[in-house]
């Protein structure tokens, strides 16, 4: 789309590095944005997209690396300084004031004044002119909150551009828009690009990437995977870039438990789903079997896990355990049935940071027993001690607040929480996310062992090589629907990738 490519890039990031508590969130990342292009920044959760944006816009400080705008090194310390330099960001949650008028929002903090008095008329006139440029003819005196999210986004963009932004970063702007609104937004983006503004577009909708972006940069685990022209990057290659592992790294050896084909399912779900959440699906889980859920971010993996655990109530279909129909109205129901769930967001959904490791481990078991049957302190010590040894949780101090442990050890403690309930079905959502390499291998070893012990396991993961290594069956999701099931020998990274990348469901279905 850009007709002339300037010699010098508009925004140039080199070797950017940022660590949080010893964990590298960004590791020597390069990123180049040209004037007049729309550039997709892609990656799974934890790939480092938002860290990159935050470092570039001064919200976070950097450990190493350079950022140059028009060849001049910049080091903004706040988002405001970045905006002054010409880099504006519009987040998914629009950062404007819904109770002020559209015009007031556009000119917030820089209202046209005469003798110190705001000139409302002039302000509204200017606002109308600006918005006309964006194809919006709306009442600028009405409160911003009266307009749709799409219009609010465009107004936020208009404000940013009018603040003489040269680089515009749009962080998941389309997440809450419908198809038509997306079109309107894209038209605005194209118009701005044609005026020479460089746009960074963060999204997890691959269709949109192929619709509007000129180039793509992919991050994974805080590292740069590569930068490609959209036109010359097949969808399968893109998904591979996002999910695959570097070839140099040893891939996990695949080992499959022989399926005892005849055994009845432990838990089965028929037509299970929830409107606007996950399309109805059928799923059967057997003891001693690992089922993997694969798909891109936002494809419905976590949503499926939450439905099965009752954290979100299904409005379609039925569930049965050991052949008997069951109700899954809440996590408590699921726990009573012998389910366990390690959520993806450890900090917000998993640990209770200021409670001790011991208390975190016994929490689910205690909740299932009810408050009237407290576990004696000795029982608690014994349970905590057993799992600390078994899972090698470090430091081996059951009385340390869990918030002070590393991510990998927190994950192990959460695993211990569920193992203590002696579950029959364990749902693990991204069990290896954000933990160091050593712990990574241990978790995978654990998954294998649990499976051998006769548990039914459902594992959500974006690490394809891992899934391939331990899953007996892989369910592939796309656009909040289960689109393919791979079984036995058919489970391979390539097969999963092509199922994810397939543009229509039929093409991706690999029957076992």
């Amino acid at each position: 789309m850009p007709t002339t490519l300037p010699e010098r890039p508009l925004l140039e990031v080199r070797g950017l590095t940022k660590s949080f508590a010893g964990l590298r969130a960004l590791d020597g990342v390069d990123f180049t944005l040209r004037a007049g292009e729309i550039h997709a920044l892609l990656g799974e959760n934890g790939a480092g997209k938002s860290t990159l944006i935050k470092v570039v816009t001064g919200v976070l400080s950097r450990d190493a690396g350079t950022v140059a705008l028009d060849g001049r090194a910049i080091a903004p310390r706040t988002a405001g300084q970045a905006a002054e330099a010409g880099i504006a960001t519009v987040y998914q949650e629009v950062n404007l004031l819904p109770n002020l008028s559209v015009a007031q929002n556009l000119f917030l903090g820089r209202e046209p004044t005469r003798f110190g008095i705001v000139r409302g008329g002039a302000m509204r006139r200017r606002a109308r002119e600006i918005l006309k440029d964006f194809g919006l003819a709306i009442d600028v005196a009405a409160p911003l909150g009266e307009y749709s999210v799409a219009v609010q986004h465009i107004i936020a963009i208009a404000r940013a551009v009018d603040l003489s932004a040269r680089v515009l970063i749009l962080d998941e702007p389309t997440a809450s828009l419908d198809a038509h609104e997306v079109e309107v937004l894209f038209a605005v983006m194209r118009r701005l690009a044609s005026r020479g503004i460089g746009i960074v577009f963060v999204t997890h909708f691959l269709d949109q990437v192929y619709t509007i972006c000129d180039r793509i940069t992919v991050l994974r685990n805080g590292r740069l995977v590569g930068e490609r022209e959209t036109a010359s990057l097949p969808r399968l290659d893109l998904v591979t870039m996002m999910l695959g592992r570097e070839l140099s790294e040893a891939t996990h050896e695949r080992s499959h438990a022989a399926l005892d084909g005849g055994s009845a399912a432990y838990a089965s779900f028929t037509g299970f789903g929830k409107a606007a959440y996950v399309a109805p699906f059928d799923l059967a889980l057997h003891r001693g079997e690992v089922v993997g859920l694969a798909g891109l971010l936002g494809s419905g993996r976590t949503e499926t896990a939450r439905l099965l655990f009752g954290a979100e109530r299904a409005d379609h279909g039925s569930a049965s355990v050991n052949g008997r129909p069951v109700r899954l109205g809440s996590p408590r129901d699921a726990i009573r049935l012998g389910f366990g769930y390690c959520p993806e967001e450890r900090k917000t959904d998993g640990i209770v940071a200021e409670l001790t490791v011991r208390e975190n481990i016994v929490l689910a078991l205690q909740a299932r027993r009810g408050f009237l049957r407290p576990l004696s302190r000795r029982r608690q010590d014994e349970i905590a001690g057993r799992f600390i040894r078994l899972l090698d949780i470090r430091p081996a101090d059951p009385e340390r607040p869990i918030g002070l442990l590393s991510g990998g050890n927190q994950q192990k403690a959460l695993l211990a929480r569920w193992l203590a309930t002696e579950p029959e079905l364990l749902i693990l959502d991204e069990p290896t996310r954000g933990i160091d390499v050593g712990a990574h291998a241990e978790i995978i070893r654990l998954i294998r062992q649990l499976c051998a012990d006769g548990l039914a396991l459902l594992v959500v993961s974006s690490e394809l090589d891992e899934i391939v290594a331990y899953a007996d069956r892989v369910v592939v999701l796309r656009d909040r629907a289960h689109v393919a099931t791979l079984e036995g020998e058919a489970v391979s990274e390539t097969a999963i990738l092509s199922a994810i990348a397939a543009t229509d469901a039929v093409a991706g279905r690999h029957a076992a």
């Binding site: 954290a311 998993g350 409670l355 929490l363 909740a367 009237l372 407290p374 607040p401 918030g403």
Partner: protein
């Protein structure tokens, strides 16, 4: 390991002892205690006796704050329950008057709990409703006047004694023991702390976070009603305009002095009560000192600031290093 540092709570105990020591300096007869009509009598006894209403409130407030909530209505609930008890005391048998007052407290707690746990209204807003309306309800019950009573049964809560200990102090002690038994003898304490520490995670672990929230507000209402009964019994009358006025703030302060965080999680009932006693020791000290009353609030503010500073993790960080994370409090 050999050199284990003293358990958390040391700053509160030291602060309490320090304030008592200062009281002794400004008023040398501070520790003089004797029996008077079969009841302990002395300034130190006053600290416990006068501190009783706030101590009772702080027991319930500690639980509410542990769930990341706050109950601003306790002062008004005191007024309501005091009014109910006082207006029924002379016309009905004591159990009826007490039962009605405690029932009123439970209802108030239930109301707050429903607003917070079921309707999901922010605790500060939800309890503000009853804080404002409650005093009006109490005034309706008393018809705007101070309702006095002469029933010796109800008056016992203000002037009676158990083995020489003033009845109000005995009530606090009993309520503290009962509540500790309830939350630490069962798994309620763990679940309340889990709910306050991370409600989402706790719900996913199967904790009935909604039931926990409801329960703590109900218990807080019960504590407030006991405080209301004690306060009414103390003056042998229910003063709807002034009973419990601003005491909700003292109760919150007591819990905070007791080392709890307003962001929920860990709580200590004993330290909350100690916090209430610290506040009262300060009040009594000021009264004994003979300072002009204009200085009361300033002295109070300075002492509270000092106690909170001693607990501040940031300040402790500046001082020579101690065990990791003072902020991670133990019960």
């Amino acid at each position: 390991m050999a050199l284990r540092l003293p358990r958390a709570g040391t700053p509160q105990i030291l602060a309490f002892l320090a304030i008592l020591a200062v009281n002794w300096v400004v008023s040398p007869q501070f520790f003089d205690t004797r029996f008077q009509d079969g009841r302990l009598f002395g300034s130190l006894v006053d600290v416990f006796n006068r501190g009783a209403p706030v101590a009772l409130l702080s027991i319930g407030m500690a639980l509410v704050i542990a769930t990341r909530g706050i109950d601003l209505s306790v002062g008004a609930v005191m007024a309501i329950c005091g009014a109910v008890a006082a207006s029924l005391a002379d016309s009905h048998p004591l159990p009826v008057a007490l039962g009605a007052a405690l029932g009123a407290g439970l209802l108030c707690g239930l109301w707050n709990g429903l607003l917070v746990a079921v309707l999901g209204i922010q605790p500060i807003v939800a309890t503000l409703i009853l804080m404002v309306a409650g005093r009006g309800i109490a005034q309706l019950i008393t018809e705007g006047r101070i309702v006095t009573f002469s029933d010796p049964g109800l008056a016992w809560f203000g002037g009676g004694s158990v083995l020489g200990v003033p009845a109000a102090v005995a009530v606090v002690f009993g309520m503290l023991l009962l509540t500790v038994a309830l939350v630490r003898g069962t798994a309620l304490g763990l679940m309340i702390e889990a709910t306050g520490g991370n409600a989402r995670a706790s719900a996913l672990a199967g904790v009935g976070t909604r039931a926990m929230t409801l329960a703590v507000y109900i218990w807080c209402g019960l504590c407030a009603s006991l405080a209301g009964i004690v306060a009414a019994a103390d003056i042998r009358g229910a003063d709807a305009n002034n009973a419990g006025l601003w005491l909700e703030l003292d109760a919150v302060l007591a819990v905070v002095i007791g080392g709890a965080s307003l962001f929920g999680g860990r709580f200590s009932l004993g330290l909350a009560v100690l916090g209430a006693l610290i506040i009262q020791a300060m009040n009594t000290g000021i009264l004994l000192s003979g300072f002009p009353p204009e200085f009361n609030l300033i002295v109070k503010a300075v002492v509270v600031l000092a106690v909170l500073l001693v607990q501040s993790p940031a300040l402790v960080g500046i001082l020579p290093s101690r065990q990791w994370g003072r902020s991670w409090r133990r019960r």
